[in-house]
């Protein structure tokens, strides 16, 4: 029985130590998800959190300049001006009308300072099958066609 107790103590020490580390890491990296519409309503401490917001990149809004990229995210009928200041190059999938997730914090003037930008890509990316991406009329083409299973 004593052997089991010793093992138990070892186990508890490890689990507790990891719990403490996990708590520290949590404090350092926790990020709040918000929608664009929620941002203006945030009060007090909530404005200083690290925040993650998703939206669609407004066509023609991307302005690249040295050390930063400005663009506008659209979502739920609202818009949010974003300045990306991170050092990594933006992903290749980041273009007009792409879906983007930005992580960073709110600036005083209500705009958003992003340190990370992700844009929709890879295994989940599926354009509407009837659409022709070369023309801007993608959405219209998708509306006209519908899918039918052969079964």
């Amino acid at each position: 029985m004593q052997k089991q107790a010793k093992f138990g103590i070892g186990a508890v020490v490890i689990v507790v130590a990891m719990g403490v580390l996990a708590w520290l890491g949590y404090g350092e990296s926790k990020t709040y998800y918000h929608t664009i519409a929620e941002l203006p309503a945030l009060q007090g401490a909530a404005r200083t959190h690290r925040i993650r917001v998703g939206g669609t990149v407004e066509p023609g809004s991307i302005r690249r300049s040295t050390g930063r990229v400005d663009f506008v995210l659209l979502g739920e009928g609202k818009s949010l001006p974003v300045s990306y200041v991170g050092s990594d190059p933006l992903p290749d999938t980041f273009v007009d009308k792409s879906q983007a997730l930005v992580e960073g914090s709110l600036a005083q003037n209500g705009s958003f300072v992003a340190e990370q930008v992700q844009a929709k890509c890879a295994s989940k990316y599926e354009a509407a099958p009837g659409a022709d991406p070369k023309t801007g009329a993608a959405a219209d083409a998708a509306k006209d066609s519908s899918q039918r299973s052969t079964m």
Binding site: G10, A11, M18, L24, T31, Q99, S123
Partner: protein, 687 residues
């Protein structure tokens, strides 16, 4: 072909349903013919899924742009190589591919054991059919890859129409690794179905003894190996294609692939306790159950977008199906456990803290804690929304803080565990086994400390790596010495001979050695550097010992894309070294661009150069982002060693008797070709 494929899938669904229901009835009635017909329905299911998959491949090869899935994933100028990869590049296809790989396993299992283990196999068949039915439901009714394009015609009915060309494959996926990474990872995910089916089957059948473990050991090793390779290939893809200079970002989909690996690794170790000492039976069964559930969860996270990630963004209804399936598995497992709990009674108890058993216990504890940490970190947004209403995610610091120390403890156990005796280890043997390795490790640590290495975790990792490598080296050396004394062959030959006599033990050591190499590689990340610079032809960027001179920029059209590349001359310590060609590719089919990183890789460090685009406000000057990542190559080397080690563990042991007879004529055979030897002296292993 699309009609053929969807019909084959539908028929496969029917056969799988028969295999399940017929199997259950067969178990109840013990009717021999029914058992046989259920098994054959299982085999037919697999064959039909093969046919469906091949017909989808055919649709890709024949550029059938009336099939929606082909349109979204392929185009005419896509190279053949990538048309295969297009098969699993989207939702519907990758789910069919899951069914396909699972069928390969199920097919092999049903054929291998068709005349053996008659008491157990009907149960195993039923479980496997259950899993197949779930995926076939998705393939048939939720995400069929055989949907065709149709539009309302003149008379109001739907007419099938054909597009001239497809949208093309996502450029990020047009990379050789993307052709082999998903099959590996998926083979890992699907492969754990087999040990799961055997464990659940054995529990339901109250199948006596540890035989299900012997039966599944190889299958588990194969699945584990695929999973390991899949994870490493994914990391290498992220490193070589995404152009951010790293290989692991704690992205939900990466985490999803790591979770079953962690519990699967724990399982591979803890089953040894059951085999040797009859302990941990309940634990082992639940480890397999959990591993399988994590495989399903991993597939769900990748496919459903429950947690946003690079791979999965938008919401998709398919998540609910997976959630339902997970709950069903859990209920079945709990019910089976509750009913036959007494069957899993442990035969022995822990004898000593310093024993093989306790090192396995700690190994399992560490892997499980790591798994829980990664799982909770990954699903944190979901949980926090339930609990507090606000969606909160955690990032790299959280995962690093927990997993780095856990990894190092695990590394320590890797060195210590295998050399501890079962039950209890004497102080004497501790000194004998660990004295020198410990001294070597500490001395190396001291030397590097004197050279200026101050990063705590990296130093500790280095010491542990040397320590573990020495214990493994000593094991081979000692064993080989004994054989050499008897046979007179060279030390190297004796070491090979030693390995072949106990493939499981020495193959395990080789796998451990591979893990050591991987840890060496991971420890380098603490010293990564990077520099970003706008460069005109003729300008120079400096990083570490390297100077990068941009000579010129050129551009050339390829069939499927146009490329623009930088011609960069690299000099090291002012001596010309080589040319690098970082590249940007533009794919007209889907109006997307891709980055091709140029990497100069040595054992010491990787020089990693990205063409990051053109500077927007400075006359379109190219921007170069260069990284210097120490030791990364060791990770990929470690992966190769892990695979070799796993292959060794899969080989049957060479018979000791034959090795002895070889000893009488030492001059001839054994020294030549180690790869040919096992064929001469094969012996079936446990099964």
């Amino acid at each position: 072909m699309d009609v053929f494929g969807s019909f084959a899938l539908l028929l496969a669904f029917v056969c799988a349903a028969y295999a399940l229901v017929g199997g259950i009835v067969a178990i109840r009635t013990r009717h021999a013919l029914l058992v046989k017909s259920a098994r054959q329905a299982g085999i037919a299911t697999c064959a039909l899924i093969f046919l469906a998959t091949f017909s989808l491949v055919y649709l890709f090869f024949s550029d059938s742009y009336w099939v929606a899935y082909v349109v979204t994933q392929s185009n005419r100028s896509l190279p053949t190589f990538y048309k295969i990869a297009a098969l699993w590049s989207g939702q519907a296809g990758s789910l069919l591919f899951w069914s396909f790989l699972l069928s390969i396993y199920v097919f092999s299992v049903l054929l291998t054991y068709r005349n053996k283990n008659g008491e157990l196999m009907p149960y195993v068949g039923v479980v496997m059919a259950g899993v197949q039915i779930f995926f076939l439901t998705l393939n048939n009714f939720v995400a069929s890859p055989f949907k065709v394009l149709a539009a309302p015609g003149a008379n109001g009915a739907l007419d099938i129409f054909t597009r001239a060309d497809g949208n093309g494959l996502n450029p990020l996926l047009q990379y050789p690794e993307m052709v082999i990474h998903p099959p590996n990872l998926y083979s890992g995910y699907t492969g754990f179905t087999i040990p799961f089916a055997f464990a659940l089957g054995a529990l339901l059948a109250r199948y006596p003894g540890e035989k299900w473990i012997h039966l599944t050991r190889r299958w588990t090793m194969i699945a584990w190996c695929f999973q390991t390779v899949g994870i490493l290939l994914g990391a290498h893809w992220a490193y070589a294609v995404l152009g951010w200079g790293g290989y692991w970002g704690w992205d939900p989909v990466e985490n999803a692939s790591l979770l079953p690996w962690l519990t699967g690794t724990a399982f591979l170790h803890s089953v040894m306790m059951q085999e040797k000492r009859g302990m941990m039976k309940v634990w082992n069964v639940w480890l397999v159950f959990v591993t399988f559930m994590l495989c399903i969860l991993g597939t769900m996270l990748t496919r459903s977008g429950v947690v946003s990630s690079v791979h999965a963004f938008a919401q998709s209804s398919i998540g609910n199906w997976f959630l339902g399936f997970l709950i069903l598995i859990l209920v079945v497992c709990l019910a089976a456990y509750a009913k036959n709990r007494d069957y899993l009674k442990s035969e022995n108890q822990l004898d000593s803290m310093i024993s093989r058993e306790s090192s396995f216990l700690f190994n399992n504890l560490i892997l499980l804690v790591s798994c829980v940490a990664v799982l909770s970190g990954t699903l944190f947004p979901v949980f926090s929304e339930w609990l507090s209403g606000s969606r909160i995610s955690v990032g790299k610091p959280f995962f690093d803080k927990v997993n780095i120390p856990l990894g190092l403890i695990l590394l320590f156990l890797t060195g210590v565990g295998p050399l501890l005796a079962w039950r209890k280890t004497s102080t004497d043997s501790l000194k004998r086994n660990f004295g020198w390795p410990l001294v070597t490790g500490l001395m190396t640590g001291a030397i590097f400390f004197a050279l200026g290495l101050r990063e705590f975790y990296s130093l500790l990792c280095l010491i542990l790596c040397v320590f573990v490598a020495s214990t493994i080296g000593m094991e081979f050396f000692r064993g080989a010495k004994v054989i050499r004394a008897r046979s007179g062959a060279s030390l190297m030959t004796s070491a090979v001979d030693l390995t072949m006599r106990n493939t499981r033990r020495y193959g395990g050591y080789i796998v451990h050695m591979g893990m050591v190499l991987i840890f060496v590689g991971l420890s380098g990340a603490a010293f990564n550097k990077d520099v970003q610079k706008e460069m005109r032809p003729g300008s120079v960027a400096k990083i570490g010992r390297y100077d990068l001179l941009l000579q010129s920029v050129d551009s050339k059209p390829e069939p499927n894309y146009t490329s623009e590349r930088l011609i960069v001359e690299v000099t090291k310590n002012s001596k010309p070294l080589m040319m690098l060609y970082p590249e940007r590719r533009f794919f007209p089919a889907n109006q997307e661009s891709g980055t091709m990183v140029a990497i100069y890789s040595t054992l010491r460090e990787d020089l990693y150069v990205v063409y990051a685009g053109r500077s927007p406000d400075n006359n379109e000057v190219p921007v170069v982002h260069a990284y210097l990542n120490p030791l990364v190559k060791w990770i990929w080397l470690g992966g190769v060693v892990v695979v070799l080690g796993t292959i060794v563990t899969l080989l049957p042991n060479r018979r000791a008797v034959l090795a002895l007879s070889g000893a009488q004529q030492p001059a001839v055979a054994p020294s030549l070709s180690p790869s040919l030897q096992p064929q001469v002296t094969l012996r079936e292993g446990h099964d």
